[in-house]
Assembly symmetry: C2
């Protein structure tokens, strides 16, 4: 079946077709096809509300999304969920099945869930993830939740990909200084202290609130701290309401559209950077100048700064031909 | 004082001079100076043993390094420690002081400790960190420990920057599946279960061992799992011995030199990629074609793939002139 038929079915919210189109975006094979598909997406001119959820592994993000997702469906929103699993640099593959991770959400119509093992050549979210966000956006999903793991680069990048960032933490993760240490306080719009039935939950929440006072408002939005026990569904309605309140705030202030534009430019820059990185890899492997300078760097004859000067123009010329 | 005098003092292990040279590498101001310095480093043709330590925040990595570092000094090795603090995308700054973090190591001669708040434009370790590794290498430090936080891109990149990767975990971090989920099992050469006086430590260690059996050897090296209680110094000698055993393994197998070469090529690629990203940023801000296509992307007139095709050659031409 040609992709356009899949696209028609996708616009009718057909799950199978949606999955097939995502496969195209994840694959590195047919760039022309990918481009056509993204063009068709852009032509839909739709704008979803993108919510990023991030935090340390084991904080219960999947269970939170399961609860929050069901709450959003109950309010009448359609929902796409993208889970970015940091793939190993050596072997790909999302290991945990979505069925296990989203017990309730998985059974509900109106929700589309997809795990993505891929990640960009340069790390972070990767072009494929950004493309899938745009695809689901074009498909008319009202809310798109993007789950990322860890406290590294993906977390920082989620800011540029999402309208709202939910930062999930748990009580007793060492000294609360750790939150500051990780340098991610400023990326959160909504803070969740999950597993709040554990000792130290109140202390964690109040320390977070103190930190937030220090950082102040973000473009007029005052970040909130919400205690939850996701496994029991406690606090989920509060979280859901905060998520929707934040959306209304963005729309009223005209920031929603700005974020949408910024997202596109960011995706575009990453696309160009990945293209360069790819060309560079080929250059160092196959180009005669590249191979020669590479040998000199390896043997220590020249340092990498000098090597960069020597190959720069050759690299750019080579990029043109690829 | 001109940098060459600092460099001479640095070669005599003068701390102040070492700090000043690192300031040069961290700064974005004088590229020419940076290049001269890196050239002088390359000319030393020295090769240190680089050990990366990574794991979730709050696992006690700093305390482990404090103990491991003192153990290595006791064995007669000189030691450099670089702590990569993920800096906020909005505000820089390494927040915790080294004096607090490395109580014992900080008082010992023979050890040089430096926190780096900087991180590369493209995320991950960043060129500055790689440069500082090469600097300390040139300074004749026997062992260089690089601490990174989180489970994101820095962790994956540490593989390409280090000879040995120590992955630190703690008991009870949610389901142990989390270790696999984070997709970082394959990057560890030595696994530490710190805080092993906490409940569930044995279970965590044995699950790790089972996972490792599944992944098998890595180029002939069988990863080890070591329980520690860093705050009490328990397990530190075992860890130290494993770190040195791994070094001897690499030297005997001729892999040490290969890793050294690979590290240089990796640094070089990142340098070129960062240069491109920088030029691209300028292009989109100041170039007439760039600004026009940017406007069309923002308004949704064209998609990012088409936009990439339209500007690619202009970007490359612009890169040449910068």
């Amino acid at each position: 079946m040609p992709w356009k038929e899949y696209f028609e079915r996708f616009l009718q919210k057909d799950r199978l077709a949606t999955g097939r189109l995502i496969n195209i975006l994840e694959s590195d094979e047919d760039r022309g096809l990918k481009r056509e598909l993204m063009k068709a997406c852009a032509a839909q001119k739709r704008d979803a509300y993108v919510v990023g959820i991030t935090g340390v592994p084991g904080a219960g993000k999947s269970t939170l999304i399961d609860g929050l997702g069901c709450w959003l469906l109950d309010q009448g929103y359609t929902l796409g969920v993208i889970c970015v699993d940091p793939s190993s640099p050596f072997r790909g593959g999302a290991i945990l099945g979505d069925r296990v991770r989203f017990r309730n959400l998985n059974r509900r119509p109106g929700a589309f869930i997809r795990s993505m093992a891929t990640r960009g050549h340069l790390g972070g979210l990767g072009t494929a993830t950004r493309d899938v966000i745009q695809l689901l956006e074009a498909g008319g999903f009202d809310v798109i939740i993007v789950e990322t793991v860890g406290t590294g680069q993906t977390e920082v990048e989620i800011v540029s990909a999402a309208d709202t960032v939910i930062l999930v933490t748990v009580p007793g993760l060492g000294d609360q200084m750790q939150v500051v240490k990780a340098g991610i306080m400023e990326i959160g719009d909504i803070f969740v202290v999950n597993q709040s039935d554990r000792p130290g939950a109140e202390e964690t929440a109040s320390r977070l609130k103190n930190e937030l006072v220090m950082f102040g408002d973000r473009d007029g939005w005052t970040p909130v701290v919400i205690p939850t026990v996701a496994t029991k569904g406690e606090g989920i309605p509060f979280l859901g309401e905060a998520v929707i309140r934040r959306k209304e705030f963005l729309v009223q202030r005209g920031q929603k559209q700005e974020l949408h534009k910024r997202r596109k430019i960011e995706s575009w820059s990453r696309l160009l950077e990945e293209r360069f990185a790819e060309s560079l890899g080929k250059f160092l492997q196959t180009n005669a100048v590249g191979k020669e300078v590479r040998r000199k760097v390896e043997s220590g004859e020249i340092d990498i700064y000098e090597a960069s000067e020597r190959v720069w123009e050759d690299v750019l010329r080579d990029c043109c031909n690829q």
